[in-house]
């Protein structure tokens, strides 16, 4: 390891417990590792297993990551209104939010906000909100220009069941028309 400058990417994902926040971070992290990056992921949550806030802080870097704390996120994924409010100031880059969960969006930086209707799409396409996190991950992959194939591979490794639906959900997010540059 060296103390030389190193580009680091900070990603912050937060929402309620049970929304698959940690799973999303895990897949993202593993995909980065498969491509030879170094990754840290801090996860923090309230004491309750379901319902409280859950946060995953990922740092991806080509070299050893010193501080694992996300202080200025390049991407912030907000799955809930409290999470959006709590961590808005920790982000200086893009904010992906689920408009069904986060209704009041701050006025500043409209160009940074990207609405991904993950919950709504999950309900429509799969009749199950549990797939919202994969739709969001697909969208994040597109938006951040990450390797889609690596993401799919990592997803299959991390998630034990329902591979076909999850792949389909990932695809829904990745091919979201609003995100594809004209």
């Amino acid at each position: 390891m060296t103390a030389a400058a190193k580009p680091r990417t900070e990603i912050l994902i937060s929402g309620f417990g049970g929304q698959g926040v940690i799973r999303m971070g895990q897949i993202l992290g593993l995909a980065a590792i498969k491509q030879g990056h170094r990754v840290t992921m801090l996860k923090s949550h309230g004491t309750e297993t379901r319902g409280g806030y859950v946060r995953a802080q990922l740092v991806i870097s080509p070299d050893y990551v010193d501080s694992p704390v996300v202080e200025n996120a390049d991407v912030f994924v907000a799955f809930s209104a409290p999470a959006y409010k709590k961590f808005f100031d920790h982000c200086r880059g893009k904010i992906l939010y689920d408009p069904e969960m986060v209704e009041d969006v701050r006025a500043e930086g409209p160009e940074r906000h990207v609405a991904v209707p993950a919950t709504q799409l999950a309900k429509e396409r799969f009749n199950n909100v549990l797939f919202a996190n994969m739709i969001m991950l697909g969208a994040l992959t597109r938006l951040s220009g990450l390797d889609y194939e690596a993401m799919k591979k990592a997803m299959l490794e991390v998630i034990p069941r329902f591979h076909e639906q999850n792949l389909a959900a990932l695809d829904v997010g990745y091919t979201l028309p609003a995100l594809i540059p004209a």
Binding site: A4, A5, G29, V39, T47, E71
Partner: protein
């Protein structure tokens, strides 16, 4: 995030620097610190885990319950931590390498067994995943409150302890093997003092593919003869006596003779104490592990260990970017305390996760001028990069740490 003009010297002094260079075939995973601690133990030949679940060390117990039967080992979920560490000591006496894992509230319960294991020179490893206190505190927040408890891990005095602290998931893996090696070599319990952040954090982790091929793992050797140890000798290579081979081993809680018989004579007490203390003090060169950044030319040096060292190191680099010649010392071996790392007569800024100030007192003692040692204590949360940089800048320019919210600077 930062661009450094001149190259800064960096040094990591630890045996796993070489290990990592030699063993490159394996798997790369995204795993938690608890997983790394477990796999490290399995790789080191640990075959017994006895303990009691406690957050944030619980996952170690869970991983162990899955892994140990696969390698012919035993997972025992005990009635309490007292039983846990005693059962580990028993298993180690019977010839199996053993480990237990706990957090602060359980660690204090283990002191009884810790002292027994020290006195009887039983090798084993104890993981303490520190969380913020006092007492039960917050289960999901890091703390560094057991720095001194780990040193004085039992009553009665007259012993030295070995305490190591990892600051990444990868390091937790190698360091656990190292802890087992030191336990075997020095015939004593070794504490791995980690914290909630490192144990819960997920990070890229390299695991070598074949544990049996790791030639640096110190194997368990059995001393199949009396006496228990050669009296007055510092011969460390006397391997542990093992119960169950009919050698007439005596393992006693009391001060004992070289045969292990309890005795109430001062000469025996002195001989035992001499051995227990000096087998560690006289071999500090084999025990000190640390990391430094730019200490040679530094005007101010930040000191930290564990998870906290991660943000402190980034803070040091940030201070450098702002034109402050800052250095960084990360302790990996906490005890025996590496006094020699604090030889330069410059201000030291000690960042630790408590408000009472523990590590800072040792730095004050070993630095040439204790009055120049500054304290930045924070509770339940890692220092931010901004805080550390501001602190170092303040000390370098004005000799004082600026007022920062939630940072305590007073040491009484």
């Amino acid at each position: 995030m930062s661009t450094l003009a001149p190259a800064v010297s960096e040094q990591l002094v630890a045996p796993w620097v070489e290990w990592a260079r030699r063993y490159t075939r394996g798997r790369r995973l995204l795993e938690a610190g608890t997983y790394a601690l477990t796999e490290g133990a399995i790789a080191a030949g640990c075959r017994v885990f006895a303990g009691y679940p406690i957050t944030p060390a619980t996952d170690i117990a869970e991983y162990m319950s899955k892994r140990l039967p696969q390698v012919g080992g035993y997972y025992v979920q005990c009635e309490d931590e007292l039983a846990g560490m005693h059962a580990c000591a028993g298993a180690s006496l019977g010839g199996l390498k053993a480990m237990t894992a706990t957090s602060g509230p359980g660690y204090t319960l283990m002191h009884d067994a810790y002292g027994w294991s020290i006195t009887n020179e039983i090798p084993l490893v104890v993981v303490d995943a520190m969380r913020v206190g006092p007492i039960s505190g917050i289960t999901g927040a890091p703390g560094q409150g057991e720095f001194y408890i780990a040193r004085y891990a039992s009553h009665g005095g007259n012993f030295e302890t070995i305490v190591l602290s990892p600051s990444s998931v990868q390091e937790a893996f190698w360091l656990t093997i190292d802890a087992f090696n030191l336990a075997e070599r020095f015939r004593t319990p070794v504490t791995i003092l980690t914290d909630q952040v490192i144990s819960d954090m997920w990070e890229d982790l390299f695991i070598p593919e074949d544990y049996d091929a790791l030639d640096f793992v110190v194997p368990r050797k059995n001393n199949l003869m009396m006496p228990f140890y050669p009296v007055g000798s510092a011969d460390l290579d006397v391997p542990p006596n093992v119960i169950g081979h009919g050698t007439g081993v005596c393992v006693s809680a009391y001060t004992h003779t070289e045969e292990g018989y309890d005795i109430e004579e001062m000469e025996a007490q002195w001989a035992q104490t001499y051995r227990l203390i000096n087998k560690i003090r006289h071999h500090r060169d084999q025990l000190t592990r640390y990391e430094t950044v730019g200490v040679e030319d530094a005007d101010v040096i930040a000191v930290a260990y564990g998870a906290n060292a991660r943000t402190v190191k980034t803070g040091v680099l940030e201070a450098r970017r702002r034109g402050v010649r800052a250095g960084f010392v990360r302790l990996i071996t906490l005890w025996p305390f590496p006094d020699e790392l604090f030889e330069r007569d410059v201000p030291y800024v000690v960042c630790e996760l408590n408000y009472d100030g523990q590590l800072v007192r040792e730095v004050m003692r070993s630095a040439p001028d204790g009055k120049k040692v500054r304290f930045m204590g924070k509770s339940a949360e890692l220092h931010t990069v901004a805080e550390v940089a501001a602190g170092l800048e303040g000390v370098a320019r004005t000799g004082r740490i600026p007022e920062l919210p939630y940072i305590w600077t007073e040491v009484r």
